[in-house]
C-alpha cells in the first residue's frame, strides 16, 4: 500500500486551537502543491464545538482507502489530554511534537524523536494565542519531510482568514526557525 512517500500524522488538541485547520493545511500542501494524495479526517466533541479534537492526515503517493491513522509516523499534541490519548499509538522512531507549556511528556519518550515548542506562548507574543497551530506547523516543516516546506507556506497563505496571511506566515517562520535551530542543536 505505502508507496515511496507515505506519512500518517495525528494533530491533536482541543477545539479552538486550530487543530483541524493544521490538518487541512498539510493536506492542501500535499495535494495541491506537492501533487500527491492526502486525506484528512477529523474528530471532535459534541456538535461542532469545544472539547478534545484531532486531525488524522495521511499523505501518500498511492490511493488512500482507509482514512484513519492508528500508528502515526508523526504526532503533534497541543494538550495534555491529547498527548495522553495518542502517545502510545506513535510508532517507534516516530516524531513527536508538543507544546511545551501544555504537555508534560512521560519518561518513555525515548522510543520516539521528541521535540517541544512553547507554541502557545510564542503565539501569544505574536499577538494571538490562536496562531499556536501555525507556529507548530512551521516547526513541523523544519523537522519532517512529510510535505515540502514551501508548499506548506503556500497552503498557510491560502488557508488562513484574509488579512491575516502575513501574521500567520510570521508565526510559521517563528516555528520553522525554532525547529531549524533545535535540529542543528543550536536551540
Amino acid at each position: 500500500m505505502s508507496g515511496e512517500v507515505y506519512h500518517e500524522i495525528i494533530i491533536s488538541g482541543y477545539g479552538g486551537q486550530g487543530v483541524i485547520l493544521n490538518g487541512s493545511i498539510l493536506g492542501k500542501a500535499a495535494t495541491i502543491y506537492d501533487k500527491i494524495n492526502a486525506t484528512l479526517v477529523q474528530s471532535y466533541g459534541p456538535e461542532a464545538r469545544g472539547g478534545a479534537c484531532s486531525a488524522h492526515v495521511i499523505i501518500s503517493e498511492e490511493t488512500i482507502s482507509y482514512p484513519y491513522v492508528h500508528n502515526p509516523h508523526i504526532l503533534i499534541s497541543m494538550s495534555q489530554e491529547a498527548y495522553e490519548n495518542n502517545i502510545d499509538s506513535l510508532r517507534d522512531g516516530g516524531l513527536l511534537l508538543t507544546d511545551t507549556d501544555l504537555v508534560k511528556r512521560r519518561k518513555n519518550d525515548e522510543r520516539h524523536v521528541s521535540y517541544s515548542i512553547p507554541a502557545t506562548r510564542m503565539a501569544e507574543k505574536l499577538g494571538n494565542k490562536m496562531m499556536a497551530n501555525i507556529v507548530i506547523l512551521g516547526y513541523l516543516a523544519s523537522l519532517s519531510d512529510a510535505v515540502n516546506a514551501e508548499s506548506l507556506r503556500n497552503a498557510v497563505e491560502k488557508s488562513v482568514p484574509k488579512g491575516t496571511e502575513e501574521k500567520n506566515l510570521k508565526a510559521f517562520e517563528k516555528g520553522y526557525k525554532r525547529g531549524e535551530k533545535q535540529k542543528s542543536g543550536t536551540g
Binding site: G16, P46, E47, A48, R49, G50
Partner: protein, 288 residues
C-alpha cells in the same frame, strides 16, 4: 502562601455553594471559555436555591443546543429532549406533575426558530412553565449560523455578507401569544435576572425570561465583538431598564440600545385554572 492556598484547594477542591444543584461529576461543562451561558445557568441555580422550594419539586427540560446542555448539568430531574420540543415535553410532564415547578432552559434557536410554534401555543394556553431563553443571536452549538434572533446584517456562517432578515422581538412575541410574565435582561444584570427567574417560579402561568448572551466563539468572533468580557460589558452598557413598557417597544439593537426590564406581569387564568373551570369535579378527584 497565597499561591499555596490555591494549590491546596486545587488538590482537594472545596464545595461550591451550588454543588448540590450541580452534577459535579460532569464538570467542566462543554461551554466555551468566556461563554456566559454558564453565568446564566448559575443564575438559574441560584434562583432555585433561593426559592426555598424543595429541590425535588423542580424539573428542568432543555432542547438541543449549547444552552440546551443545561439540563445535563443540573442535579435535578432533568430531560434533554429533541431540538425545539422541550416545551411540549414539559407540557406533558407538567400535566402529569402539576405541583412541580417545570423550568425550560434552552436557546433562542431551539425555543423560537424550530420551536416557535410550541412556544406560542404554550403561551396561549398559559401553561404553567418557566421558560429561560438564552438569546445569543445564533445557533451556537452548530457553529454559528443565522437564526431568527440574528440582528440584521450580522455575520454568521450562513450569512457571509451579513444577515438579510430581521430578527423577532422575542418578548413581543411572547406577550402577543399570551405569556403572563415577560422579562429581558443581559447576563450582567445577574441579580435582577436571578430575581426575575424567582418571580417566574412563583408566577402562575407561562413565564418567559429572555437573557441576552454573548456566544463569543460563534457569534462574537464572526462579528468582531472582541473578547468575551467585552461583549457582555457592551451589552450591559447599552442596556436601558424600562420596566412595564409594552414589549413591542422594547428595542433590541446590539449596536445601540438593549431595552431590558420586566415587561409583562399579569394575572391570567392558567391552563389548569381553566381546565378546572370546565371540569370542576376533577379537582376533587385529583385530590388537590
Amino acid at each position: 502562601m497565597k499561591k499555596q492556598g490555591i494549590k491546596e484547594l486545587n488538590g482537594m477542591p472545596g464545595k461550591h455553594p451550588l454543588s448540590d444543584l450541580l452534577r459535579d461529576d460532569r464538570m467542566p461543562h462543554i461551554w466555551c471559555p468566556g461563554c456566559d451561558i454558564g453565568t446564566i445557568f448559575a443564575s438559574c441555580l441560584t434562583a432555585i436555591h433561593e426559592s426555598n422550594i424543595d429541590y425535588n419539586d423542580f424539573a428542568v427540560i432543555s432542547g438541543i443546543g449549547c444552552s440546551g446542555r443545561a439540563a445535563g448539568y443540573v442535579k435535578l430531574d432533568s430531560f434533554h429532549t429533541t431540538h425545539g420540543r422541550a416545551i411540549p415535553f414539559a407540557t406533558g410532564l407538567k400535566i402529569a406533575k402539576p405541583k412541580m415547578k417545570i423550568i425550560v432552559f434552552s436557546g433562542d434557536g431551539d425555543l423560537f426558530t424550530i420551536g416557535g410554534n410550541h412556544f406560542i401555543h404554550a403561551a396561549r394556553r398559559n401553561m404553567d412553565l418557566t421558560i429561560i431563553c438564552v438569546n445569543n443571536f445564533t445557533y451556537g452549538m452548530t457553529g454559528g449560523q443565522v437564526a431568527s434572533s440574528t440582528p440584521f446584517k450580522a455575520r454568521t456562517s450562513t450569512t457571509p455578507n451579513g444577515n438579510f432578515e430581521r430578527p423577532f422581538n422575542l418578548a413581543y412575541m411572547a406577550a402577543a401569544a399570551g405569556a403572563a410574565y415577560v422579562a429581558r435582561w443581559t447576563t450582567l444584570h445577574v441579580r435582577r435576572l436571578t430575581n426575575s427567574i424567582l418571580e417566574a417560579f412563583n408566577k402562575k402561568g407561562f413565564s418567559f425570561v429572555e437573557v441576552i448572551s454573548s456566544c463569543p466563539t460563534s457569534f462574537g468572533r464572526k462579528n468582531k465583538l472582541g473578547p468575551p468580557l467585552h461583549i457582555i460589558q457592551h451589552f450591559h452598557k447599552i442596556s436601558v431598564i424600562k420596566n412595564s413598557i409594552h414589549p413591542k417597544d422594547a428595542n433590541l439593537d446590539i449596536e445601540k440600545e438593549i431595552v431590558v426590564g420586566k415587561f409583562v406581569d399579569i394575572e391570567r387564568p392558567t391552563f389548569f385554572d381553566l381546565w378546572e373551570e370546565i371540569y370542576p369535579p376533577i379537582r376533587e378527584k385529583r385530590g388537590e
